[in-house]
């Protein structure tokens, strides 16, 4: 069995974002990067499946981006992936979801992956398109937004998260693709011995030009802060002073505090 898990490196979302020079995405300066949270669940699920099947599956992790994405690739290897593919693309942030999906599909096409896992979306772009589009290009069934996953004899049973706490359960036969929602499992922290072992694992570098054959279907014309609605009051300063002011406001503006 061959498994592929696709991951993205994203900035810490607590950061303050400033537009880059072209004004179409954020500037990398002063940002700390990490693995997209949704993808951590995908890596964990892939590693658990490998463990369930007695270590037999070969587990490949793929990431697209500039050299810094090797950091998240190393984390995935330390979590238990066997080998990695780094699709080298310093301009990945200028690609639309269709192109990113096309790159992944071009890589996966002849590799015979039985199962592909992705996050349901990225925390920074949040388009929620790439996983499903890869499945469409490859022509394999796809279930999205998984909060439950089990595998038995070539069939994946997927629990999809719907609205208001409702879940939908579907079964699909491999080859298949699934996209992972937060809370699917508890992603492990890499242990020191596993971090050391990961250093010996292969990271194959593939220039993006070898895989990218398609033009973008949409372009970002601007990246900017939301227009301030300006209705809310922002309070800063000394804690005791803030407490007094907030209680005053609550007494005045709400009926619940007397």
């Amino acid at each position: 069995m061959k498994i592929l898990v696709c991951i993205k490196q994203v900035p810490d979302l607590e950061s303050r974002f400033k537009p880059d020079q072209a004004g179409v995405w954020f500037s990398d300066t002063d940002l700390a990067f990490r693995m997209n949270e949704y993808d951590e669940y995908a890596v964990e699920q892939a590693v658990r499946l490998k463990e369930q099947l007695g270590d037999a599956p070969e587990l490949t992790v793929l990431s697209i981006g500039p050299d810094r994405v090797v950091e998240v690739i190393k984390k995935a290897l330390a979590m238990g992936c066997d080998r990695a593919v780094h699709v080298q693309d310093p301009a990945a942030h200028l690609k639309d979801p269709w192109q990113i999906a096309s790159i992944i599909a071009a890589y996966a096409k002849d590799q015979g992956f039985d199962l592909i896992l992705t996050g349901m979306q990225s925390q920074d772009r949040g388009s929620a398109q790439v996983g499903v589009t890869v499945a469409e290009i490859l022509g394999v069934p796809c279930a999205t937004t998984l909060v439950g996953f089990s595998y038995d004899g070539g069939t994946v049973t997927a629990k999809r998260e719907l609205e208001g706490g409702l879940k939908g359960v579907v079964k699909l036969k491999i080859p298949a693709l699934v996209t992972c929602q937060l809370g699917l499992n508890t992603p492990r922290y890499p242990t020191l011995p596993n971090i050391m072992k990961a250093k010996k694992k292969e990271i194959a570098a593939v220039p993006v030009a070898e895989l990218l054959k398609s033009e973008p279907l949409a372009i970002t014309t601007s990246f900017h802060a939301p227009a301030k609605k300006g209705s809310g009051l922002v309070l800063e300063g000394d804690i005791a002073d803030l407490v007094t002011r907030v209680i005053g406001i609550l007494k005045e503006k709400t009926a619940v505090l007397r």
Binding site: S127, Q129, T133, E161, G168, T220, H224, I239, T254
Partner: protein, 302 residues
Amino acid sequence: MKTLLIGEYREGKFLDSTYELFGFAAQLGAETSLFLVGSESTLPAGGAIYLADAASCGEYNPDLHKLLILDAVQRENPDYVVFLHSSYGWDLAPRVAAALKLAQVSEVIGVQDGVFEVGCCNGKMRRSVKPAGPKAVLTIQAGAFQGVQPTGALSVTKLSNDTASPMEFVGYEPAEAKGIDLARAEIIVSAGRGVGKKENVQIIAALAKALGGELGASRPVVDAEWVAHDHQVGTTGQTVAPKLYVACGISGAIQHLAGMKKSDFILAINKDKDAPIGEVADVLVVADLMQFVPALTAQLQK
């Protein structure tokens, strides 16, 4: 301009969130037709509808629903195929976009002259996105457009397709039984990721108690099992509108905002002045939670 709106239907019911699609189309000044895998017994009162029968097509059967939508697209030739950005929409829209080789623009919150405004960076920032061609597949953010009823006489065109599905829908699993009904609470004090660790949740719970309210939580706090699921506020938890909502260390992901932004008064406490919760808060206190919340609780208890 023509739009094909993809309506939603679940557990035998037409979902009213579908009307938001008409609200979006009204803002564009576009003609509408509705596509629905549903039932003739629960339909909007008017408008042109392409209807496939959920009893035979299944409520969740994305490969088949895609083919049915492509059939409606061929008959209607719309400029935009519009979905809600929901578990149904984000699952299905990329399949339709890929089949039509069209751009998909996700989670649209506004539109002007064919350029779409979408949220990014967890709701903190915005992008303007322009499809390469005149046509596109869109998903619109829940709650971004006011729902409106379709106008004109009801006309139903039936669609069918018997292509076998590569997936088997097993069934629904209901939401876990609710221990508490947040929807009835007058005051909710919610803990977000900013509380840092499980032990700190009690500091937020103490404020809830001092105010005579219930404890709520955002998704990351529930996923980390710091707080039980029946306290979760947001699209995948409970939708609430109390008289006072206090958001403690909640950055304000779209899914959370959609679940609480109709509250009468929103007090947010966050160390990040730019957190998107500030967009809906009546008062944003920029402070360290672990200093401010205990001080507020102590003062309220006096």
